[in-house]
Symmetry: D2
Subunit: 261 residues, 4 copies
């Protein structure tokens, strides 16, 4: 499907503020970017680089006063998300080098603390895809998805204690559970067609059957229409905007995802 | 300055043909991409990756029949090209690791054969920027820039023998001369505002005074308005389209560069 | 100084166990490896790769029974550690791209929780090196360095609560405090000459004055004699041995560091 | 088999001379380095980095006077070289991104000029491994392997014209022929057990059947006992010593490869 996705972020800046943004989608194996616009108002020097995960990052220093960022893209992405019940667990010794670091615990995914829970959730499952599907279903049943319930990312331990969280938080718990079973897992941020309520979104991917598969515990059924902005170990790596110095929050934020012909 | 650049390439494909294209400009330290469009007709699966030089490359297999690629971008780039007479030669032992490979000879830049000529051209010059400027001036006086004079890249030796070449060929000779003096040099392909006649363009960069500087022997005076599509050791690395199998040439090719407000 | 460093790790393996080891020092800007030996007994296929941080990692699957790894190296390293009181804080917008990820919180360095403490510790200090020196001194006075006090890494929050930890744990708190002030910081593991009691060691580096400087809160005075095995965001990235499946601990571990002529 | 390999290079340096050396073997999927020594006399600051191909490179400036480099390693490598008649040609669109640049022409492998010859040599062969085997046999029959016949690398065109060359030169022609058939190919330098006369060695690898295979036209039969020092597109990338400024040649060079238990 062909989607027009975008966002507008408005800030009121009191003191010149360095930002690192991750708002430009890249073409890759999962999506093709046909059109793209990136507007910064007032015009400000921007420098773009590629981070360790291959994400495009935009560096700038926002000047004082009203500051607005608008990006818009037309992206071709899949109508559905691949499912692969039965896809096998990959033994550690057979994992590609590039995937190994997604086994390690990270800021918001304390996978070293979740082995017991993960084993109990996945009991009786065939090793691999089915374990991750069981984890996703467990999240759907046990952790309430409450959009807007917090601003700061929750770690897997906190989400599991609270029993609720935003999309990013559910992803953290899913990732921690996978890694605790030696299944590489990573977070993805971007857009989702038909998300309710519309906003930036986050989900996760797990590496089984020799490739990455998409999982999203916030959606009742597997669906397509995902557009990727960035990926990494957890929300620490993939803030769509990272801002340094005294905290600045958007005074307005619009997000849109529409089908186009 | 803000430029709308783009091209349209049309092919008549007789047998399914793999292509690697380098037609999407990237934002970086020298330019900022505000808008971008990439259209392939008929629609074909495309996969984009980043090559060893950081260039975005698009892989696809063109189906039989008429095949057209159109890309268009709005890019903010500098009004002028930095000049730095006096910028110093960097001793080999002080060059950054990432720059060392641009000292080596390459397919079209046989720098191992040009030390004598380079020494004679740069006699009496302060080591560094001034040497490269002298090389560029020598190219302007001694090698005729004849757009369209050949399709296949000429190597530095061939250009020097022929006494003429297209933009790419002049760049090859400039690069070979620089490298033969232990000055790192690389080719850049892209667009240039006001190029006569309008076409894709190629120029070169040399590393002196601890950064890369732009040189273009096809232009009488230093100017701005450059938009970068890719860079590498020579034309072998930065074909804007690389096609495999029986040769296919565009039956039509349009290139445009316009100022926008 | 020229140091012979090495270790011997002995395991009793009950079930074939995948390991990722980080026991081969690399030559780099801080050290030169003159000799190196790496012995695995019984002989087992090993595959070495370079991780995202440039560390050499050895992958193998340990067979059942006694399993022993011995590495030994002669490394030339500095007699002293550079100090640079007054070296300046680098504004975020001026940091090199490659350093930015060391500003982010990580598994054991929850820098997002330490700004208040870091500000109070560094009050009145010149921004940059002096802040990191103040943090290191604060660690020396406030966190007891107790070798062997725990096996699993403690996070910065845990160390701060407990008031004690091993070398790695003190490094975690130092790193979290630096990052909370927007100073990039990373962990280093390796060997230290004259360490009491002798063991593997961990310390940290902070990026100020446009380069990395070494800090070690476990030592009363700045000293030299450091040999690096690996570096990363925190202990999650730089386990000298990472083992998967049911936990296996060394039944014997010898570490040595001696001066050689 | 377990080999002790090494070399000693002696220079008489008239003016301080920057060197880039590639004399430290790395462990990888094809070899495991058990012991390694690297001695520079007189002692000189050395800095080691990893180049774009993953080779370890040592940078130093040789002081005036006698200058000697000795390296020695014990390396475990295969007793034989894998053969795979029938291993299939990989279509361009299915090649991994990381392999694509080995299709391009390079300084000493003008693959753009060899399609006709390559087609005639491989007529009737199954596409893939068998084509490369046919090319290797053709080299054995048509190009004389004359150790020591030249100092400077010959390009594929020159070797084909001359009808003879050293190991490196034969590899260049083999690589150019492979690439002209859209088979990725690269040069490897290192040591070979039982090489007559003993010296540094060079051979090539081709990518067919989804992996790299070893080919060596200087040896009548496929054999094992290869130890890799570096790999790249051609000899320009993998000089075991690259020296800048007025030419300096070793006044003495010893190379050894012995079996050890």
């Amino acid at each position: 499907m062909r989607l027009r996705t975008g966002c507008n972020l408005k800030f009121e800046i009191a003191t010149p503020t360095p930002f690192i943004l991750m708002l430009r989608p890249r073409s890759g194996s999962q999506q093709w970017v046909e059109q793209q616009e990136y507007e910064i108002d007032p015009g400000t020097p921007v420098y773009e680089f590629t981070d360790d995960y291959g994400n495009l990052c935009q560096r700038l220093t926002a000047p004082c006063g009203m500051f607005s960022i608008t990006t818009s893209s037309v992206v071709v992405t899949s109508d559905y998300t691949d499912e692969a019940y039965g896809a096998e667990f990959v033994e550690i010794q057979n994992l590609p080098d590039s995937v190994l670091s997604y086994l390690l615990p990270s800021r918001y995914c304390e996978s070293d603390c979740f082995n017991e829970l993960a084993v109990s959730i996945t009991q009786g499952e065939i090793l691999g895809y089915n374990q991750v599907a069981a984890i996703t279903n467990w999240l759907r049943s046990n952790i309430k998805y409450i959009p807007g319930s917090n601003n700061e990312p929750l770690s897997a331990i906190q989400v599991n204690t609270n029993g609720y969280g935003v999309c990013r938080d559910l992803a953290h718990l899913g990732i921690a559970l996978c890694r605790s079973l030696s299944i590489p897992a990573r977070i993805v941020v971007g857009y989702l067609y038909n998300l309710q309520p519309m906003d930036m979104h986050a989900w996760f991917e797990a590496y089984v059957g020799n490739r990455w598969y998409t999982f999203d515990a916030t959606q009742m059924a597997t669906t397509g229409g995902y557009v990727i902005l960035g990926l990494g170990k957890d929300a620490a790596d993939v803030a769509v905007f990272n801002q340094f110095g005294p905290s600045v929050f958007p005074i307005d934020q619009q997000v849109w995802v529409e089908k186009v012909e």
